[in-house]
């Protein structure tokens, strides 16, 4: 299992990058390791650029704030790169050598210059059709963050997929109110309203995560 | 017991004497008392109070609002003992009925005010005084002013944790301790 890794997640407001970070951090902590998770500290508006950060380690994590030098970058929407919907330009800036990049896209989207930048760092790149998987298995693109998480766990040995699924259930069970920001709380309600029952939401999300996990697991083995 | 370099002794200390707390005088824990800035046994503090009262030319007790007004259960019992303490010590009683800055001025013959306590002390030539039943903040304000401008020896009998700016400070004063103090004063008187 990999320890001591800093992950930067970038996407569009409303896509659930904050929630994904929360779930991942929760899973890591419940697996007995340390984590600190925070969102990008900005005005939280739908479809505006959004970033969140997950630090995980087998020792206490003190560092906080934006992760400037990530080991792993997850891009939740192609527009982050193609339309510059990001405050971090280029999207891989600060990526450590031999780092890893996951992009939610059905097809390659990088320019030659960007590809060259990644190559120079010796980075590994994966394209994941996360939105497509979300539509297929959860019936909504709002589950993109779930498929991105599932995909991440299939690619990198960070934490058991079951622990992630438990964290998802905990996140949406309503037992403890989740607060990242006022806007996140509102979005939560809108996601829940898409499903008749919370249990159905959790079930759909679990399926989406599992399918994405299997997808990348296969991808990884074939590489 | 615990020796402090800074001594809280009678003034006048001058223009604006420092708060004893800022000079390193610590309030004692439960069961102890403060004597001129040092933490001592309660009994020793009581002995000093008795000695001071018995040798004073004009000892005066200043009962505050907490003991002048029958506002809570238990006040009357304490008040009776404070009265008895005055009788035993041969001390006069000058009350502090409230804390407002009096206009145009207080009558120093009959009362004391925490905002200008010195007027009462100077006017009546008080050389030893006891504060009892005064809210801690107002007692502290008055004790600092007294130490700044008079040579009066100040004693505080506090129901809470006591006062560094008094020369002798008792804490957690209850009926039992008051009675003990009276006994010690009676003893001192008769010896």
């Amino acid at each position: 299992m990999i320890s001591n890794i800093d992950i930067r997640m970038a996407g569009l407001g409303g896509q659930g990058v904050v929630t994904a970070a929360h779930i991942l951090g929760t899973a890591v902590v419940s697996a007995g390791k340390h984590s600190a998770v925070n969102p990008f500290f900005g005005a939280e508006k739908r479809l505006a650029p959004a970033e969140s950060y997950v630090r995980m380690a087998d020792r206490p994590v003190y560092d906080r704030g934006e992760i400037l030098y990530p080991d792993l970058i997850m891009i939740f929407a192609p527009e982050v790169i193609t339309m510059g919907k990001s405050y971090t330009m280029p999207f891989y800036s600060g990526l450590k050598e031999k780092g890893l990049v996951m992009i939610n896209s059905d097809e390659p989207i990088l320019s030659e210059k960007e590809q060259a930048g990644l190559d120079k760092l010796g980075a590994t790149l994966f394209y994941i059709p996360a939105t497509k998987l979300a539509m297929e298995f959860a019936g909504t693109e709002l589950a993109t963050n779930m498929t991105m998480l599932g995909a991440l766990c299939g690619l990198v040995d960070l934490v058991e997929i079951d622990t992630v699924i438990e964290a998802v259930a905990q996140r949406f069970s309503g037992k403890s109110k989740f607060v990242a920001s006022g806007t996140t709380a509102v979005l939560d309600e809108s996601i829940k309203s898409k499903y008749a029952k919370v249990s159905l939401l959790i079930e759909k999300n679990t399926t989406a995560i599992t399918k994405a996990y299997e997808y990348t697991k296969k991808l990884n083995q074939s590489k | 017991m615990c020796e402090n370099k800074y001594k809280v002794v009678s003034g006048p200390e001058g223009y604006l004497p420092p708060a004893a707390s800022l000079m390193g005088v610590l309030l004692p824990d439960e069961g102890s008392a403060l004597l001129e800035g040092d933490i001592v046994k309660e009994e020793d503090a009581m002995q000093q109070i008795a000695k001071k009262l018995c040798n004073a030319k004009n000892p005066v007790i200043f009962p505050g609002p907490l003991i002048l007004w029958d506002w809570a259960d238990g006040v009357i019992e304490k008040a009776k003992l404070v009265k008895k303490l005055a009788d035993v010590a041969g001390a006069k009683i000058i009350p502090m009925p409230d804390y407002r800055p009096k206009y145009p001025k207080i009558n120093p013959e009959v009362e004391i005010n925490p905002n200008h306590p010195n007027i009462t002390i100077w006017h009546n030539d008080i050389d030893v005084c006891i504060f009892v039943g005064v809210h801690c903040h107002y007692a502290n304000v008055a004790l600092k002013i007294i130490r700044g401008g008079t040579d009066c020896y100040t004693i505080s009998l506090c129901a809470e944790v006591g006062h560094e700016d008094a020369m002798v400070s008792m804490r957690d004063l209850d009926v039992k301790k008051l009675q003990k103090l009276i006994d010690i004063i009676e003893n001192e008187k008769s010896s």
Binding site: - | P63, I67, L68, W69, D70, W71, A72, V75, I76, A79, K80, V82, K83, I93, I94, P95, P97, D98, R100, P101, K102, Y103, P104, N107, V110, E111
Partner: protein
């Protein structure tokens, strides 16, 4: 009733200064007193440093005599002239910063309701025109919007008194004052009208030339604030020092204002009127 804090312990009763003995024996605590009884009982305000002929001091004196239960009344004020008399008054009085009185009173009233759910604790704001209409207007209005159960009393002397005679929002249009060297350019702020539209259940405008009306109005304002909602009394208390008239003319100035632009007005909401009818009938006094 909280008369225990004005009940002396027997051991020290004789030692109390005379004014306290008088307060206990002849004050308005153990026997209810009103404006009508002035001159025959010990008033709760003591000697104060207000100027000779001060309309505000007279206004406060009349208001304080009109309090239905002074032993359960707490007054919040602001810095300014009103501080001087109120600090000498035998009830809890506090000011904090300038203009925040209605916010402080909101917190205080709510906490007293938490701590003493079965008692009426009358929280009264008593401040000048500058405190209410200028620097504190937001806080005044918002306490009314929120329906805080407090009584707000403006001592309207149409000027900043304590700082030395500056124009206030309640000064008369055209009046030459400090900081209005060519005369005030706009009329008095219509706080009375604002009170009516901002949630007050009882609003009255009166001058010190009508002492008995003050007694009636204060009593009503406080009783209604206990049960129904916010109340506001605007009391004209002219300032001889800064409005520059002779101290013996204060009442004349008030009387003329009453005729000219400061007539007695009273507004009462329907629910407040119904409640008032009930209590005044129950009391059998219609005490006015």
């Amino acid at each position: 009733m909280s008369n225990r804090i004005i009940t002396p312990v027997k051991e020290f009763e004789d030692l109390l200064p005379q004014e306290y003995k008088d307060l206990v024996a002849d004050g308005p605590f153990f026997a209810e007193k009103g404006v009508d009884d002035l001159g025959t009982f010990k008033e709760i305000m003591e000697q104060h440093p207000h100027c000779a002929g001060c309309g505000e001091a007279l206004g406060m004196r009349l208001v304080l005599a009109g309090l239905p239960t002074p032993q359960d009344t707490l007054i919040i004020g602001t810095p300014g002239c009103s501080f001087f008399g109120l600090a000498q008054t035998a009830l809890n009085y506090s000011n904090t910063a300038f203009g925040n009185q209605n916010a402080v009173a909101s917190g205080l009233k709510r906490m007293l309701q938490i701590r003493y759910p079965d008692k009426h604790k009358d929280v009264v704001v008593m401040v000048g025109d500058g405190g209410i209409a200028d620097i504190g207007l937001d806080y005044t209005l918002h306490s009314w919007f929120r329906k805080e159960k407090i009584t707000t009393i403006m001592l309207d002397n149409e000027v900043y008194g304590n700082t030395g005679g500056q124009e206030s929002g309640m000064s008369k249009e055209g009046k030459v004052l400090n900081m209005a060297p060519t005369g005030k350019k706009f009329p008095k702020i219509p706080v009375f009208e604002l009170a009516k539209t901002s949630g007050c259940c009882y609003v009255a405008k009166v001058t010190i030339a009508s002492p008995k009306k003050i007694g009636k109005v204060i009593r009503r304002a406080i009783l209604i604030a206990r049960e129904i909602g916010p109340t506001y009394v605007q009391l004209f208390t002219p300032c001889p020092t800064n409005l520059k008239f002779a101290p013996d003319q204060t009442l004349k100035v008030a009387k003329e204002a009453e005729k000219d632009y400061y007539p007695f007005e009273e507004f009462i909401s329907d629910d407040a009127a119904a409640y008032l009818a009930k209590v005044e009938q129950a009391k059998g006094d219609g005490k006015s």
